[in-house]
């Protein structure tokens, strides 16, 4: 996922793109064949092509764009075992946790591994993500996905309850964690465990859907030497942008000459004695179906000495 070449080769994980709603992940295996309503593609015919190419299917009936994998595409295409964090929440978390190449981060729970993949991209290759998940099946799935996506070198998955006695303690963690992310039903129960692995100045983020969880978390943070406690909501607004057929009526008025309208002959029509014409106009509006809530993001910095 992190270092695509320009040319597709055996073993690569690629995305077959046919629209935002129609993406498929393939691992290149020259003995294999990909079948879809967009045509049949032998992997060996894909291998050797440039990433980003528009491929024609083997029988010539369909086409498909083949693009390189990113954590964002991965989060769209993955099988949603749990609710996943949305892209905007992820980017806001990474920005405010001050992650970069070299950071050492802790996450709980792992869930579908969507945030984990994004964190790994950011902290690799010098840093590391330790992710904790109490659900055994999810641990297995996550480990496999990280390996398949070539992220396993940068992510360690631990099967453990973050609120339990052991918390985030591991032999390879030694008060050197720069950032902790919590997505738990009772995040306040994991805050002492977080404190055990972070250092002066580390950041913590808790994601919760309900305001009551936020209230408890903020109280716990305030009484645990955290400062800069801040709760925000971020929601994405996406726009439907396109050349749109738009109808103009030719009505007289005392303010502008309308003969320029009459000269336009594209798609002229008449309705109830009024003349009109159609034109293509570049219009944009927010999508009606939108996401009204994902969760509240609470950020805080651990400052035991300030």
């Amino acid at each position: 996922m992190l270092n695509p070449n320009k040319i597709i080769k055996e073993g690569d994980r690629i995305v077959m793109y046919n629209g935002k709603d129609s993406m498929t992940v393939l691992t290149m295996d020259s003995t294999n064949v990909y079948n879809s309503k967009f045509g049949t593609y032998r992997h060996k015919n894909i291998i050797g092509k440039e990433y980003g190419s528009k491929l024609t299917s083997d029988n010539g009936n369909g086409f498909c764009h083949v693009i390189a994998m990113t954590p964002e595409l991965w989060s769209i295409t993955l099988d949603h075992r749990t609710q996943i964090l949305f892209n905007l929440d992820i980017s806001t978390i990474i920005f405010n946790l001050e992650l970069k190449n070299g950071s050492r981060a802790v996450e709980s729970g792992t869930g579908s591994g969507s945030l984990s993949s994004s964190i790994a991209r950011t902290v690799a290759p010098k840093g590391h993500l330790f992710t904790f998940e109490f659900h055994e099946e999810r641990v297995k799935f996550a480990r496999k996905d990280f390996k398949d996506n070539g992220l396993d070198k940068f992510i360690t998955v631990t099967h453990r309850d973050a609120c339990g006695k052991e918390g985030f303690l591991r032999d390879d963690i030694n008060n050197d964690i720069d950032a902790v992310f919590l997505d738990l039903p009772s995040p306040w129960d994991a805050i002492e465990n977080a404190i055990a692995v972070i250092h002066d100045g580390s950041m913590l983020c808790s994601f919760s859907p309900c305001i009551e969880q936020v209230q408890n978390t903020c109280l716990k943070l305030a009484s645990s030497k955290f400062q800069e406690i801040k709760t925000i909501e971020v929601l994405i607004r996406t726009f439907d942008t396109r050349l749109q057929e738009y109808e103009e009526l030719n009505l007289s008025n005392p303010y502008i000459d309308d003969n320029n309208i009459e000269e336009n002959s594209r798609g002229k029509f008449e309705i109830g004695g009024i003349e009109g014409f159609k034109k293509d106009k570049l219009l944009s509006r927010p999508f009606t179906e939108a996401r009204g809530h994902t969760g509240y993001l609470t950020f805080a910095r651990y400052l035991p000495n300030a």
Partner: protein, 527 residues
Amino acid sequence: METETPMDVETTSNNGNNNNNNNNTIVKTNSNVIKEGDHVILDINDGEKFSVIKVKLGSKVKIGKKQILINSIIGESYYSSFQVSNEKNTLERITQKELDDRLNNLVELNQNDADNRNLDQNNTAQKLTQEDITQMKEKGTDSNTIIKTIVENSESFKTKTSFSQIKYLKKKIKKYSTIVKIIKPTLKSLTEAYYKKDSRKICGLRFDSFGQLLTLGNIRANSQVLVVETCMGLVTGSIAERMNGDGTILSAYIGKGPSLSIVNNFGFDTDVLNTIYPFNLNVTSVLNKDEDISKLPPTASSGIYDKQVKEKEKGKQQKDKVKEKEEGDNNSGGGGGGEEDGGPKTIVNQRNDTSNENIVKLLKDGVWSLVIVTKYSPLNILLSCWPYLNSSGSFVIYSHFPQPLMEVHQFLHKNQMAVNQQISEIWMREHQVLPKRTHPMMGMDGASGFILYGTKVTKPSSIQKPISSPTTTTTTTTTTTKTNNLLDIENKVIAATTTIVATIEEEVENSESALKKRRIDEEQKKE
């Protein structure tokens, strides 16, 4: 005021011990009872489907695949729920408490809050096959038994939290039984029903934008309003409801005849219907050209006219016209003709004079509000109606897209035809308020549409004819004019705008600083 029809009782039989402005009688205790002759909305399974009908003893309504007798709703309270009895094909009263109890008695709910640590992710926890369930249904098993059986055969149900269990049961109840709620048709309920059903038919007008439209349009009784809409009459009806018999609504249609079928569904009294004057928008266009208005065809009959009455009045030769009208109706309603339009047509405007001559007279008298909600480009419509909006009157335009409103805004600003203009959009979100589970709803309607409003002003000298070209960015239109002319316009516009940019800037900054100031004021007050 007479009470000729039994519809809209709350309004027409309005009297009692109110202060000084009320010449009607109040029988409030009866106003919430469903009576014969009422128009009602049937809300089937909490918004799954809506129908508007006129209540009549013995009449049947198609719900699902069956014809259901509605007699039992007469005399009951509005907003009551009824269950469809599959055996008797009737509606049976069911109270909210019964609905709730049913939920609680159906199965025993989990008392401990389970966590989902060991929850199996594969949804293979149901032992019944879809076939088993279909069989039960076909046998006529009652819904409670079906749900109980499903639950008993669900492995995962026991591990759910009580909250999830309730959610699950509610879904199943909705799936296996039919609940009908009888709703009083009002602006609010009709807007909700049409928006849910197919918002395109009402130009995507969401309730909150609709509220803004009426407020910013300064809609009130005893006012004169010019409305241009392609929302099947919902906007005209909303103004009529607000005015409730006092005022004048000039309702311009685009097409062969008025397309006001939703006006019927309000169940308005004759007084209210008589405030509506439908006319062809072409009248303003012809009037603006100083052409002879008498050449225009008269206002054709429409959904809000009783066809039979009209036909009698106008004779056989009108028949073709009516047919054409119906086509026009369908066109402008975006496919119209759903079952909500199927109720018997009421008689409108028996007393008001909708002749083109009278429309022209009313237009020339001037209106205080101009309201535009159509699928067409709004600038030409606005300008065509502009001469009839009184100076200092309010205009308000709703559009799906911001770009057309930007052009109108710029045109009116550039030519100093309006002040106090503003383009806005609404961000609206619903909340789930439950103990320990309070959060905004996950799903949200992201598109309120856009509204431009403002106040018409005049220059000291009286209206001058401003330079042409709507805005510098209208394009396909502008670019096809003769080129010399075009370049001239470009130059003029550019020359004209440099100063204007400064003026807007000033106003805009003022408006930002006003908000700041207000905020400071408020904070000081809070101390």
